[in-house]
Amino acid sequence: MPALTRWFLRSALVYLVVSLCLGVLVVMPSTSGVAALVPVSIHLFMVGWVTQTIFGVAYWMFPRLAGGKPHGSERLGVLTYVALNAGLMARAVAEPMLSLRAGGPWAVLLVLSGALQWLGAVVFVVNTWPRVKVR
């Protein structure tokens, strides 16, 4: 298993636990004011756990390329990992904060978080596309 896959999968496991803990928090009667955490918990689960697991396993298991880079560009793989996780963590902070104080730096951070996650997905597709081939 490549080192990058280990990073993807271990991070995904952390997101799984954190997202489910947030899921507990948002249904506790004493914390009903944390409704802003609902989209965060959903995205930590779907992006942090599901999508990140797929990215890690695809990087590892998809058909290899001929030549010296069987997994495609490792640099693009690392960029995917960094952009996706930086974006997700920025969102986890910005979205609840924006519900407390509209506009300003939290709005900028929220947009930036979306752009980073988008970048991570696009770079993953660019790096993975040549490996999706008839063998």
Partner: protein, 138 residues
């Protein structure tokens, strides 16, 4: 990787980028304007990423790696899986497009297509879910 899996997986990658693009647009709306447009984009966003990306990628990989028949030469009733590919993608387009133009008929047709795609894929995959000793794993 068989041709059908290539189609499933490449279509899922396209849906991933489209779904994240819609998500980026939604975060922009949430950050600055908070208009009703966000609600309009929610269904296409969710459908692209749950059905177009996750479900479709799963089908593509399953068609590729589930145990085969005839000593590894056959994947069984592939026609059902091709039907699933077509219906799933048509369904995602109809649900997304129908949501954008507020057409309940298009959304309903799209959801029915997605459901039929799931049934078709189930009909294909059912017999391939078997002990490895009775066939060859891909």
């Amino acid at each position: 990787m068989p041709t059908l899996s290539v189609w499933f997986i490449r279509a899922s990658l396209v849906a991933l980028v489209l779904g994240y693009t819609v998500g980026l647009l939604m975060l922009n709306l949430k950050a600055w304007t908070r208009t009703g447009l966000m609600a309009l984009l929610l269904t296409p966003h969710v459908d692209l990423l749950l059905v177009g990306w996750t479900m479709q990628l799963t089908m593509g990989v399953a068609f590729w790696i589930l145990p085969r028949f005839e000593g590894g030469r056959s994947r069984g009733a592939a026609a059902f899986a091709w039907i699933a590919l077509v219906l799933l993608n048509a369904g995602v387009l109809l649900v997304g497009g129908g949501s954008l133009v507020r057409s309940d008929g298009a959304r309903l047709a799209g959801r029915l297509m997605e459901t039929t795609a799931a049934v078709a894929f189930g009909l294909h995959a059912w017999r391939r879910i078997k002990p490895a000793s009775t066939g060859t794993a891909a």
